[in-house]
């Protein structure tokens, strides 16, 4: 069992642009150059028009809480110290079926940054709540999504 938080491989050409954008604080998804269909997770072909010509589109990172869980032990050691913690699914405004995962944390300077950010009070986790994606840098090549309640965005 690993001690550290598992991280994504970021140098696969299939999704490297997404991880590079995350380091800039931007959420991008694939967009078919021929028909415009957005897709996530990244893959080589558009399922609508079978085009292999793929670009990337920046999204606002705004959306709604679709669902969440609150994880309790047993967990990996790197996560056990934070337990119980929430993991949420956000339904993105520009692409409602391309949901992504992250923790809902408190916003504002007082809550710290990166991994020091505190989770929101679970009573604020209401399905449909407005969320904003931000990114926390956790390694030189990795920034991971976090969600702020829209009311809490500084």
């Amino acid at each position: 069992m690993i001690d550290e938080r598992p991280l994504p491989v970021t140098d696969d050409p299939a999704d490297a642009p997404m991880w590079e954008a995350a380091l800039r604080g931007e959420l991008v998804v694939q967009a078919c150059v021929d028909c415009g269909r957005l897709r996530f997770p990244p893959r080589p072909m558009c399922p609508d028009c079978q085009s292999l010509d793929t670009g990337w589109q920046k999204l606002s990172g705004r959306g709604k809480l679709w669902s969440y869980c609150v994880a309790h032990p047993p967990l990996l050691p790197a996560f056990e110290k934070d337990a119980p913690y929430n993991v949420a699914v956000i339904q993105l405004d520009e692409a409602p079926t391309l949901r992504i995962f992250g923790r809902v944390v408190r916003g504002g300077a007082a809550s710290g940054s990166g991994e020091a950010r505190e989770p929101v009070d679970p009573s604020l986790l209401v399905i449909g709540a407005r969320l904003q994606v931000v990114f926390e840098k956790v390694a030189d090549d990795v920034a991971l999504p976090l969600f702020l309640l829209e009311d809490d965005v500084a």
């Binding site: 994504p8 996530f40 997770p41 869980c69 609150v70 994880a71 967990l75 949901r99």
Partner: protein
């Protein structure tokens, strides 16, 4: 009707004891259950010419075949996706026999997962390259977390209450308390204990999770004609299906139009298409239950109750002994053992033989399903 219809039958079954920790290796457990299943059927090991199991199975087919003393093999396959595989492995062997490519088939599964360190989610690498790279780093680590997201959403959409979800675990524990093979035999469970149990991933508590078990299961499949010469009452494979949903992603299927639909819908439509029975004919079912919400979702997607109404449907002991639709009548993965759903298959066969410890009187059709949340499979068994 499909051409597979009742052309093959399950004629032998066996399982090991189920426990948190068994001394024997997976290969030894496999040998024992395959030998015992063949003896149950009255078939000599040298007659076996077809084998199927899971891609996740430890012992290789050739190791099992040479250890048990099988003859020449002419069909061997493995079905992927863990809990989705059991009925698919049976379906593939049944197809091979039905079309004449093989004559005597064995499907088996051995699994030693009782020890905490053996859990699949705990084996993650420090860098992830597959589809879990988008979810595990943010803390969505375990299958229970992934299913908890579905359960929470289901509660939001359809108003499911914990007391209704509890009906699954409580009914299966009642069945287990009639089954001396079950790990939870003589361990009653009540609603208060369920509601007070520790969380694993909210909204799911300890009792919404399957057991972690060591154990092995095997079944023997032959043609309907050959079945007449076997020792046991044949249990016919009336219909069989595999299914993978559109735009589907294993376990983290949240990037599509309807994440709750899973793979049961695709499996079920194809299962019923081939059958001369309808969901209302099902009086007993074995529904894959690694986590209790999967039972509710399977009840709906296989047409046993309307979509969104499973919570109300299961109230009042519907799924338990004497209920209107007994489900997972051995105790299932929650209370008998977790062998990737293969013990559900054995229980389905027992119901059709009339030898279940929680026998449903006059049951002549049993639905057996594999996991809702992975590319899946299902069987309709008939006696």
């Amino acid at each position: 009707m499909g051409s597979l219809s009742d052309s093959t039958a399950i004629v032998g079954l066996a399982e090991s004891e189920y426990a948190r920790s068994l001394g024997a290796s997976e290969l030894e457990l496999s040998c024992r259950v395959v030998r015992d299943a063949l003896a149950d059927a009255g078939v000599d090991p040298r007659e076996v010419d077809a084998l199927a199991s899971f891609t996740m199975e430890g012992p290789a087919d050739f190791e099992l075949a040479r250890a048990v003393g099988m003859g020449e093999l002419n069909f061997f396959s493995q079905v992927a996706h863990g809990g989705g595989a059991a009925c698919g492995a049976v379906a593939q062997v049944a197809m091979a026999i039905s079309c004449g490519m093989a004559q005597v088939g064995v499907v088996w599964r051995s699994r030693k997962r009782g020890a905490k360190s053996s859990r699949v989610w705990a084996q993650v690498n420090d860098r992830i390259s597959d589809q879990w790279k988008y979810s595990r780093p943010v803390g969505l680590l375990r299958p229970v977390d992934e299913v908890a997201l579905m359960a929470r959403r289901y509660m939001h959409e359809y108003g499911l209450k914990r007391e209704q979800l509890a009906e699954v675990a409580l009914a299966q524990r009642e069945h287990a308390n009639l089954n001396p093979r079950a790990a939870m035999y003589e361990k009653p469970l009540d609603l208060a204990t369920y509601l007070d149990a520790r969380w694993i991933s909210e909204p799911l508590c300890l009792y919404d999770n399957c057991l972690e078990s060591d154990g092995a299961v095997a079944v023997v499949i032959v043609s309907a004609e050959r079945a007449r010469d076997c020792r046991t009452r044949p249990v016919f494979i009336h219909s069989a299906s595999q299914g993978m949903g559109e735009q589907y992603q294993v376990m983290t299927n949240f990037h599509c139009d309807d994440p709750l639909a899973g793979c049961s819908g695709a499996t079920a439509r194809n299962l019923w298409r081939q059958a001369d029975a309808v969901p209302a004919d099902v009086k007993v079912a074995q529904l894959y239950d690694a986590f209790s919400p999967l039972v509710l979702l399977s009840l709906e997607t296989y047409g046993l109750c309307p979509v969104g109404e499973a919570g109300g449907f299961v109230e009042g002991g519907t799924l338990g002994p004497g209920g209107s639709l007994p489900v997972n009548t051995s105790g299932g993965s929650l209370s008998e053992a977790y062998v990737h759903g293969m013990n559900l298959l054995n229980e389905g066969v027992r119901q059709m033989r009339g030898s279940s410890t929680s026998q449903v009187e006059d049951a002549d059709l049993c639905l057996v399903t594999s996991a809702h949340v992975v590319p899946s499979s299902a069987l309709l068994l008939r006696n």
